[in-house]
Subunit: 192 residues, 2 copies
């Protein structure tokens, strides 16, 4: 039996990413966002939705660029902190001792310590009620060498990303391997 | 040392959702999508990106509605199957024996067997290269009673959602609880 929870922003699991930008004075800022996802393959693109009052919102419009920094479990506290605090009053990289590095391809900084960072150029944006959905073209994905398997694919057991479960405000890790995508369902029913 | 993987649609972890729609003849269709996420809080909204050639793409434009059906690990094979096959040639609910139920609030079907289903009304859409990003307002979230904790919040250890790791084409489960969101980072550094 299903229970209605009403009209709420509950859907899960969602990623936890840290968005890197520069402000007008060139101060690097990092802000946590979970209303995010991939939104296209050609060109590769992400969609990052932010409230209009956030510091990062103006920075993205100004610089037409941002980075996605994917935390590991080792940076859980810093990641939560980057969501609790605002660049209006804080210099978050200085406070946490993490290292902002100027992007190679875009006018935005990434976090040296995070295992995977993605450089994005702003393609467009659209308002959705409380939020603006920023579409960023992925110009480059960089990953720590030791996080890659021998075949060059990401090793999620080393990367240890975070997921958020809206509705219960809880962070979880990624768990056990379940199967190969675009493959395990091939023979799931008799007609295939 | 970071290695560049180039311009690729690699960002992780991403959700695995099954999108429910009706076609023009009223046939229910279910299609798996991972280029998805939450995109606003007021109103609660999701962004679901689909290639233009997918069966679901035309259905959403036609009916102005879709459902998000969140699988549990128990439906891994069916979920993968719903992504491998097309509604152009398949009647996927009939083939897998899952039960499409007409939405209470929108003109789209949800899967009775999936633990969480979300009814969405199309708010708008925008093209991003290969994909169209559909913005759907969440009109209702329904969850199986036994998946809720006593305080009415989702119990992820029972819900057992799937995550996908792009770049390694692998499904994983959600793992261990790591901490309370908007809380664990409060005292992460001395200045707070």
């Amino acid at each position: 039996m299903k229970r209605s929870l009403g009209s709420r922003s509950i859907a899960y699991p969602v990623p936890v990413w840290v968005i890197g930008t520069y402000d007008r004075e060139g101060k690097p800022n990092v802000a946590t966002a979970a209303w995010v996802g991939i939104c296209a393959s050609e060109p590769p693109a992400v969609c990052v939705s932010l409230r209009k009052e956030r510091y990062t919102h103006a920075n993205i419009l100004d610089r037409k660029a941002f980075t996605v920094n994917i935390p590991s479990e080792d940076y859980l506290k810093e990641t939560d902190y980057f969501g609790l605090t605002s660049g209006f009053r804080h210099n978050k990289t200085a406070e946490t001792g993490l290292t902002p590095v100027k992007g190679d391809l875009v006018d935005a900084p990434y976090l040296k310590e995070f295992p995977c960072v993605i450089e994005c150029k702003l393609l467009g944006h659209t308002d959705v009620g409380s939020h603006t959905a920023f579409i960023g073209e992925i110009l480059d994905v960089k990953m720590d060498e030791e996080m890659l398997k021998e075949d060059g694919t990401p090793d999620v057991e080393k990367l240890k990303p975070l997921v958020l479960i809206p509705g219960s405000a809880s962070y979880y890790g990624v768990g056990k391997y379940l199967g190969k995508a675009y493959s395990v369902g091939k023979y799931c029913c008799s007609v295939t």
